[in-house]
């Protein structure tokens, strides 16, 4: 990939330290990134720059020049990353009210354009139940061909990604640091897996460290990349609720998994439900939310069975119920059930089939 001036300018603006969104706006970078960038390189201060930004100006100029000296192309190539800017094929943020200047992607780029996509987000401190629900939703939806978008955070995010990966489905992780800066450390392995089998997306350049303010910002990209956002568990305050708000702002549907009124980890999701979010009890409800009947080139009976993952997740059901709901072809259904058991997703407990938590 050759980095043209525009690509380089946009990448530089989202890479160098000290340029948060408000400052980019003040620099006029959102309307004229090339102009802003060359101003930085030249060191001539635009008219609007004053106050704290003016004080920081010399540092910014120094960092811009240092960036220009980096072998950015080689760095990108080394980790298999690409830069996407507006106008690129597959740029997903054309109609977005708050598009990023550029995004760096790493992994299977086609995922950006695969439809439908659902964001599964939630708290970093989930209950075991919430984690299981996230995992199962991720797996069931992904197996039916839905791309799972999330934020690679601990807790719900990670479980959703893992669910999708387990069944060989597609998953996109929008991260709050450079795609070469795994965070959190405990998700290092998951990070690498997604870079390999899924897609990492960041609106920051390589080497950019995670920072508190970047995570709420990346939430808007999660919402932007998905048709629907489902919050699995969230405390009364939390990043997941901001993702839901971003989704609403973009006119996307929002769903929430109901929880016990005694569970603090469901305070936020229950509040969403009170405010009118769609209750999500399982994959079936998500398909309703998307307004589609899943049939991604697969047998209707088999897909019907996928929907039953939700049923099983809710507390186990008998084989007869599974088969009946899968369209009645017993042999076909048994094959699917057998595969799920063999894959370690379901197990038999007495006469009921249930999820392995």
């Amino acid at each position: 990939m050759v980095l043209d001036d525009e690509r380089l300018a946009r990448l530089g603006l989202v890479t160098i330290e000290g340029l948060w969104p408000r400052r980019l706006e003040l620099l006029g970078a959102l309307d004229d990134p090339i102009g802003s960038w060359s101003a930085l390189l030249d060191g001539r201060r635009p008219a609007g720059v004053a106050g704290r930004l003016a004080e920081a100006w010399p540092d910014l100029v120094r960092r811009a020049r240092a960036f220009q000296d980096r072998e950015i192309e080689a760095e990108l190539r080394a980790i298999g990353a690409e830069v996407l800017v507006p106008g690129d094929d597959g740029w997903p943020f054309d109609d977005d009210p708050e598009p990023p200047l550029a995004v760096v992607v790493r992994g299977d780029r086609d995922l950006l354009n695969r439809r439908p996509a659902v964001a599964l987000v939630g708290t970093r401190r989930p209950t075991g139940l919430g984690r299981a629900v996230a995992d199962e939703l991720g797996a069931t939806l992904a197996e039916a061909g839905v791309v799972i978008v999330s934020g690679l955070a601990l807790g719900i995010d990670g479980a959703a990604h893992r669910g999708a990966l387990r069944v060989g489905g597609g998953t996109i992780a929008v991260v709050g640091s450079g795609v070469d800066r795994p965070y959190p450390a405990r998700h290092g392995e998951l990070w690498d897996t997604i870079a390999e089998d899924g897609l990492l997306v960041s609106e920051y350049g390589l080497g950019v460290p995670p920072a508190r303010w970047r995570f709420p910002a990346r939430n808007r990209l999660i919402a932007a990349l998905a048709e629907s956002t489902v919050v699995v568990e969230s405390q009364a305050r939390g990043g997941a609720l901001s993702t839901a708000a971003e989704a609403l702002e973009r006119g996307r549907s929002v769903g929430a998994v109901p929880g016990s009124v005694r569970s603090p980890a469901s305070d936020g999701t229950n509040a969403l439900l009170v405010d009118g979010a769609a209750p999500v009890r399982g994959a079936v409800d998500v398909f309703d939310l998307l307004g589609i009947t899943p049939s991604v080139g697969r047998d209707a009976a088999v897909v019907a069975l996928d929907l039953l993952d939700a049923e099983v997740a809710r507390g186990g059901c008998t084989i007869d119920a599974l088969v009946a709901a899968a369209g009645g072809d017993v042999a076909e259904a048994l094959v699917e059930i057998g595969r799920r058991i063999a894959a370690g997703r379901w197990r038999r407990n007495g006469t009921v089939i249930e999820l392995i938590p």
Binding site: G316, T318, I319, D320, A321, V323, A324, G328, V330, A331, E332, L334, V335, I337, G338, R339, A342, R348, N349, G350, T351, V352, E354
Partner: protein, 509 residues
């Protein structure tokens, strides 16, 4: 004077020829029976005397000796009443010997002179060493179908002898009735089994492949109803089997169909409280066949499998392996046919709940006892091990209509035809050394089986059985295929799904 009337006694399911010799001569008046008669046989003396007098014949003041030859064979039952009576009439010169030449007889006499059926009539008529055999009217059709004899049915002694005296006229010959295959006993239609798709599929597989079937489920799940419907799916008996089944049922004293021949596979459902001899066979001096043999060619249904005495369950192994059962009693032994399809039902655990850890109230010790009772070897014989739940009542009312037995039987017949091309009656009978020939595996199927073996889901025997079951699954889905088309992974996986792991069967103790 001396008279000889051929007759027979029954042992197990075969007859032994007996010659009834009656001698009337001077001496202290009376009748003695010699030649190893048992109590019921010795009682013939009193029945014969009353029957003769009631029928208007003379009871002479002579010394009468009845010898039952060969004398070393133990004689049991009342079947020798009629030949003794006829012999007496000849010996006392009330019937001319020529009128009874070449005629044998079998039957019990009532005190009024009526001739009544006895168990094992078919075998008795068969074994009687005479061209013509007189048998009781009730049971004559069966004897006429099986025995290579000219069979005459007689209703009472008086008219029988009247005919004999009028120029040696025997009662009318009983012609074999052509059995009607469509005359199925009413065992219920599969269309009644609703909202239980797995159970329905299990029945279809069992019928098509002849696989033994274990139904695991709580009381009220309809296990007995399912077993009855399996019999309705089976093809009619082939002529050779029909003859054997008729013999067995006759020997066991079971009611035979009007046409005489048992043409439909039988269903036997003994209670777990039945005696061991009643189940396994060998009762009495005749070594009467038990329920296990009565189900030959059909279905043996054992409800509450876990409640049967272990000694009975152990005794099932030989018939399951060899299709026959050997019974030995003091002095004599015999083999009885016992090739049946075993259908058993049981609760998942002693309390019957079995719905996961939460629903079960059994202590682990109770589960352990239950599990030990049904340990490995027997459960391993069941190719099909499925759980049945009481159907959802709403689905029973509003669910879609289900296929009828006739529709399913059409598929079953096609699979049986494929089995015939493989040289067996049903896929479950494919021998070990033919396994590779008739159940080759695709690479995917082999992989799935290997991983099932590794995960401990399958034993060595289980592996063999699962291939046969997968064969049936695939035959049902693709009945026009060649008999040796390789098994697909889907067939293997579906077969695995129809064979619950042993640990689940016994409640995952």
């Amino acid at each position: 004077m001396l008279a000889k009337v051929p007759s027979a006694v029954v042992t197990g399911v075969s007859g032994t020829p007996v010659l009834v010799e009656v001698h009337a001569g001077r001496g202290l008046p009376g009748l003695t029976i010699v030649g190893l008669p048992d109590a019921s046989c010795r009682e013939a003396r009193d029945r014969v005397r009353a029957a003769l007098i009631q029928s208007g014949f003379d009871w002479k003041d002579t010394r009468v000796t009845v010898n039952l030859s060969p004398s070393e064979v133990r004689k049991q039952g009342a079947g020798l009443d009629l030949p003794i009576a006829l012999g007496y009439l000849v010996a006392t010169e009330q019937v001319k010997p020529a009128d009874l030449a070449g005629v044998g007889a079998v039957g019990e006499l009532g005190l009024d002179g009526s001739i009544r059926a006895v168990p094992g009539l078919v075998c008795l008529a068969e074994a009687t060493a005479a061209e013509h055999v007189i048998v009781p009217l009730d049971g004559a059709p069966a004897a006429a179908r099986i025995a290579p004899r000219i069979v005459h049915g007689a209703g009472d002694l008086k008219s029988l002898v009247a005919g004999l005296c009028a120029g040696g006229r025997l009662p009318a010959v009983v012609e074999p009735v052509v059995p009607r295959h469509d005359a199925r006993p009413d065992l219920g239609d599969l269309a009644d089994v609703r909202a239980q798709p797995v159970a329905r599929f299990a029945l279809e597989l069992a019928a098509a492949g002849g696989h033994h079937l274990l139904l695991v489920g709580p009381p009220g799940a309809g296990k007995t109803m399912l077993a009855r419907r399996l019999v309705g799916l089976l093809p009619p008996l082939d002529p050779a089997t029909a003859a054997v089944v008729t013999r067995v049922h006759s020997a066991a004293g079971l009611r035979l169909p009007a046409c005489g021949l048992v043409t439909q596979p039988p269903l036997r459902a003994p209670h777990h409280g039945a005696s061991q001899v009643g189940l396994i066979g060998g009762g009495g001096a005749t070594l009467r066949p038990g329920e296990v043999s009565a189900s030959h060619g059909g279905v043996l249904f054992l409800d509450e499998l876990g409640e049967f005495p272990p000694v009975v369950l152990d005794a099932l192994r030989q018939p399951l392996e060899e299709g026959l059962i050997r019974v030995a009693r003091a002095g004599h032994a015999t083999t009885l046919p016992a090739r049946f399809q075993l259908v058993a039902a049981m609760n998942p655990c002693p309390c019957g709940a079995g719905r996961g850890d939460a629903g079960c109230r059994c202590t682990s010790a109770a589960r352990g006892r239950y599990a030990r009772r049904l340990s490995g070897p027997l459960l391993d014989r069941f190719d099909l091990r499925v759980e049945v739940q009481p159907p959802d009542p709403l689905l029973m009312l509003d669910g879609p209509p289900e296929e009828s037995s006739d529709a399913v039987r059409a598929r079953v017949d096609r699979v049986r035809a494929l089995a015939a091309e493989r040289g067996v009656r049903a896929n479950a009978e494919i021998a070990d050394h033919e396994l590779e020939r008739w159940t080759p595996l695709t690479d995917d199927a082999r992989r799935d089986l290997e991983s099932a073996l590794r995960s401990g889901l399958l034993t060595g025997r289980g592996l063999r059985r699962i291939r046969l079951l997968a064969r049936t699954v695939q035959d049902l889905r693709d009945p026009v295929a060649a008999p040796d088309v390789p098994l697909t992974a889907a067939s293997v996986m579906a077969a695995l799904g129809m064979r619950m792991p042993m640990s689940t069967v016994v409640g995952a103790a």
